[in-house]
């Protein structure tokens, strides 16, 4: 119980800390990897909350995802290393206000509402994984499949958007050059 609380707190703090770093540092690489470690901390948070499958999945997915994000940051930022020290933000006051108010409201809800009795025990990881699989391919199959189709569509769409527009002639002499 207390160990769990401790770990939840530690990983929560880690996630928050890295999350802050994301927008504090001026080096794109650092902010991307900070986001990565923040996500990893969230995954560990899941583990601490005995949600093993999701935790491991989160840790795994985010590693790849955020590394890819890192290279995009470096590609698309005019100041990847942050050595120029230019400010990359606007409407600061409003943003801070919005962020703080959102957090405060959510925290207030979390603290003030009565959550009733909390479950003491959950089944072990293997049983969880099995049950989750049954859920995904049984009761909620359509939702899950829809998610799959959606992501496939997104992949195709993204690729289609990203492929450079090349008219036929240039394509031809490209092939000729190859």
């Amino acid at each position: 119980m207390y160990a769990q609380a401790f770990f939840v707190a530690v990983f929560g703090l880690a996630a928050i800390g890295f999350g802050v770093v994301v927008f504090r540092t001026s080096s794109m690489m650092r902010s991307a990897l900070a986001l990565l470690f923040s996500m990893t901390a969230v995954g560990c948070l899941f583990l601490a909350m005995q949600t093993e499958f999701l935790g491991v999945l989160q840790i795994m997915m985010m590693a790849t995802e955020m590394s890819i994000m890192a290279i995009f940051m470096v590609m698309f930022m005019m100041d990847p290393g942050g050595l120029g020290g230019m400010d990359m933000s606007h409407q600061k006051r409003f943003s801070i206000g919005a962020g703080v108010s959102a957090a405060v409201v959510a925290i207030a809800v979390a603290l003030l509402s009565d959550w009733g009795p909390a479950a003491e025990q959950v089944v072990d990881a293997e049983a969880q994984t099995r049950a989750l699989g049954m859920e995904l391919l049984g009761r909620s199959m359509m939702i899950f499949e829809t998610a799959g189709i959606t992501i496939l569509t997104a992949m195709i769409a993204a690729t289609a958007v990203a492929i450079p527009v090349q008219n036929l002639s240039s394509k031809d002499d490209k092939e000729a050059s190859e």
């Binding site: 939840v8 996630a15 999350g19 986001l35 909350m49 930022m77 957090a103 997104a154």
Partner: protein, 103 residues
Amino acid sequence: MTMILILALVTGAILFGIGVYGALSQTNLVMIMMGVELMLAGAMVNLVAFWRFLHPEAYSGQMFVLVVMTVMALEMAVGFGVAIARFRAKGSVEMEEAEDLKG
């Protein structure tokens, strides 16, 4: 146990707040996406906490987390696609300069 639940919820809330700040304050498309990712992460923390401490028997909770992860990946994919296209066209993904969405 409820204490842990609240702990997790507060964590999620703060992550969400940071995400909101980032999404609103950053000028670069990729950074905005980072903010959105953080917001989603906060949501996921809440979902998992609710599943674990309130309804450990309802696995739709975990399924929702999976759906959110899908949304994250999806957002990355489309966002990067747009980013590449825009960078090709305009040479930058600074959203300050992107006014061609003006209706």
